[in-house]
């Protein structure tokens, strides 16, 4: 989908300081070398299957489907992966690639802490040093994940610059990479940043849609009518969409975090409310003011709390291949509670954004239709925050 300069239509590119150019070019060369190499793919598949627990299940949510009385709802259970989210798919790929490139140190940004925990996990497994940058605010909201990263042997740096959230963690990780390149790989957590990251991360996450396709053909003998996933930077969404992009009968729907509402300033719905800009190494949609200053964003979900979106999503939006819908905190929390009660599955609050839209859409579709929702992560990490949202103080 992208050309050699890493452009998706007008989006993407490599808008980074000269200091990093050789590093991203080297990464691109290494990736092109290894991506089709049998040995690399064998090693990666072994890691994904034996260590991370792939393939993840495609679960028919029968009770939910019957209660809602419309399209059949299937859940792609990325929450059952080791470390509890889809993040591990990308991290194992990048860590293995970094190791082949002779790197001994991984750095990463993290919002909710899922990507940080996944990176710290891969670093522990492969005997690499690991430093994770996390907004100071997020280290407080997700103290348990900070502890987990330390337990796994990573160093966690609390970022105090800017708004002290995910975007600042990305900025700080990029700064650190310019400071130490020789032995360090920046293990970016989403389909964003400079080329080749949006392509590499997509390819490592595309295992999600590859499996969905095989599993649904086995179970239903046909393609689904819609695939729904939440979108922050957009890695689980692009992973869920990728092998369906050429199947025009399959609706691809990304659910953005609208926070208190896409018509309020307390939102992170980038495609819905943002405009085209250049930031964090890529041209894409960003929440920004008219002078290009990046806007502070808000969502109950620390993992979707990012003012941009991956360039391939911007492109899929522009060509009309994928739809992007805003989902508020309240809608997501209701879906979080509904799935817990109905299926006995506590979803990540990020994934609950996708569930919310699926629950809205399913009753409007016939019983012969099929919706697949990617459950990108598990919700244990969110329980305290959702309890607080409902006015209940609990202590972890």
């Amino acid at each position: 989908m992208s050309n050699s300069k890493g452009k998706f239509g007008i989006y993407g590119g490599r808008y980074i300081p000269e200091t990093l150019m050789n590093a991203v070019n080297e990464l691109q060369e290494a990736y092109l070398h290894y991506k089709d190499e049998a040995q690399f793919n064998e090693e990666l598949t072994a890691l994904l299957n034996d260590y991370a627990g792939r393939p993840s299940r495609l679960y028919y949510a029968k009770k939910t489907t019957e209660e809602l009385g419309g399209a059949k709802i299937y859940l792609k259970r990325e929450d059952l992966n080791h470390t509890g989210a889809h993040k591990i798919n990308n991290v194992l790929g990048q860590a293995l690639l970094a190791k082949k490139m002779g790197k001994t140190r991984l750095i990463a940004e993290t919002g909710a802490g899922q990507h940080g925990v996944a990176t710290a996990t891969a670093a522990a497994l492969m005997g690499m040093e690991c430093v994770v940058f996390m907004g100071e605010q997020d280290t407080k909201r997700q103290a348990l994940n900070v502890y987990k990263m330390r337990l796994l042997g990573a160093k966690v740096v609390a970022v105090t610059s800017g708004t002290a959230t995910l975007k600042d963690a990305v900025s700080e990780a990029m700064r650190e990479w310019t400071n130490r390149i020789d032995d360090t790989h920046y293990c970016l957590g989403s389909v964003m940043g400079p080329h080749p990251f949006p392509t590499i991360v997509r390819d490592f996450q595309a295992v999600i849609s590859k499996e969905i396709k095989q599993q649904i053909m086995q179970k239903e003998g046909r393609l689904p009518d819609a695939v729904i996933a939440c979108v922050g930077g957009g890695s689980n969404a692009i992973g869920s969409f990728y092998h369906f992009i050429n199947d025009s009968s399959v609706r691809l729907i990304g659910c953005e975090a609208a926070g208190k509402g896409a018509d309020t300033p307390l939102t992170a719905a980038t495609v819905t409310t943002g405009s085209v800009g250049i930031f964090h190494g890529m041209k894409s949609y960003f929440c920004q003011d008219r002078y290009g200053q990046i806007a502070p964003v808000y969502s109950i979900s620390a993992g979707l709390d990012y003012p941009g979106v991956g360039p391939e999503h911007a492109y899929l939006h522009d060509i009309g291949r994928a739809e992007y819908v805003p989902i508020t905190d309240e809608q997501a929390v209701r879906a979080f509670e509904y799935l817990s009660r109905t299926e006995g599955i506590i979803p990540a609050i990020e994934s609950a954004h996708a569930l919310a839209y699926a629950f809205e859409l399913a009753p409007k579709m016939g019983r012969d239709k099929i919706i697949i929702v990617t459950l990108s992560g598990r919700g244990d990490k969110d329980c305290a925050a959702i309890a607080r949202y409902r006015g209940e103080e609990i202590y972890e």
């Binding site: 300081p17 000269e18 800017g162 290009g292």
Partner: protein
């Protein structure tokens, strides 16, 4: 002829940087005049950006301070128009790609021409992406300054061959900010640049003392100083211009000694 390149004709150049609007635009105006009167050869005017990924803490905080008092691209353009009544040395903008992109490249560089801005430095616009703005820069006669880093290696020839105005040599890995030591082999980079172009080159990132300015001006064609100027602004606020005047004078003298030492005298 390039006014920027001309600024290197009479010896080594001293190039200070200032973040516009820190702590306010009146102070910026006074500071720019103080720099021009005390020997600055070119001045870099920073247009603040909310998330300056190539900057260390000192300039990051200056950006925050400038934006917090409502500094905008349009207000900075107004400031430059006023300054151009008496400030005649070359002025270049330093800002991030999104600031130019969101303003509209054509509109941005048309305004630059109108207010006699000579060039622009965009740290997140590498050689491979320069076509984003190069056509508009050419159309309005604004030189797009190229950067070369310690990691550039075999990229140097490609970048230097097409460079215009001057070449900004990034002294060290990492972000902007004062440094005790700079360990990069600047001479080797300069030698490689000079093999392919006559475009002058100046060294920045980490330079704060007269000793460093003299050393790196001697190795190249000039010295660029940012964070050290911002520290004076942070310390003295609205009273900073007189201190900046004294600092620029001292630094220009150091750069002049480098000119004398290397036989490149006024």
């Amino acid at each position: 002829m390039s006014r920027i390149t001309d600024a290197f004709k009479n010896g080594k150049a001293f190039i200070p940087f200032i973040t516009c609007g820190d702590p306010d635009l009146d102070t910026t105006a006074a500071a720019v005049r103080a720099m021009a009167e005390n020997g600055a050869d070119i001045i870099e005017l920073g247009i603040p950006f909310s998330d300056p990924t190539a900057e260390g803490p000192v300039i990051q905080e200056a950006n925050v301070r400038a934006l917090s008092v409502g500094t905008t691209t349009d207000k900075i353009f107004q400031l430059v128009r006023t300054l151009r009544a008496d400030v005649k040395i070359p002025l270049v903008f330093m800002t991030y790609a999104n600031v130019v992109f969101s303003y509209g490249a054509d509109k941005f560089f048309a305004a630059c021409k109108d207010m006699q801005i000579d060039g622009i430095i965009i740290p997140d616009l590498p050689y491979e992406e320069r076509d984003e703005f190069l056509p508009a820069c050419r159309k309005y006669g604004v030189e797009l300054i190229s950067m070369i880093a310690p990691t550039s290696e075999e990229r140097i020839d490609m970048i230097a061959k097409e460079a215009e105005g001057f070449i900004y040599i990034v002294s060290s890995l990492g972000v902007t900010g004062t440094r005790g030591q700079i360990t990069t082999d600047i001479s080797a980079i300069v030698e490689r640049i000079r093999a392919v172009t006559d475009t002058p080159c100046a060294v920045g990132f980490g330079i704060s003392t007269p000793e460093q300015a003299e050393k790196f001006a001697a190795l190249s064609d000039g010295a660029i100083v940012g964070s050290a100027v911002i520290k004076i602004l942070d310390k003295y606020g609205k009273d900073a211009p007189e201190h900046i005047a004294a600092y620029v004078k001292e630094m220009k003298q150091a750069v002049n000694s480098a000119s004398e030492r290397t036989g490149k005298i006024n």
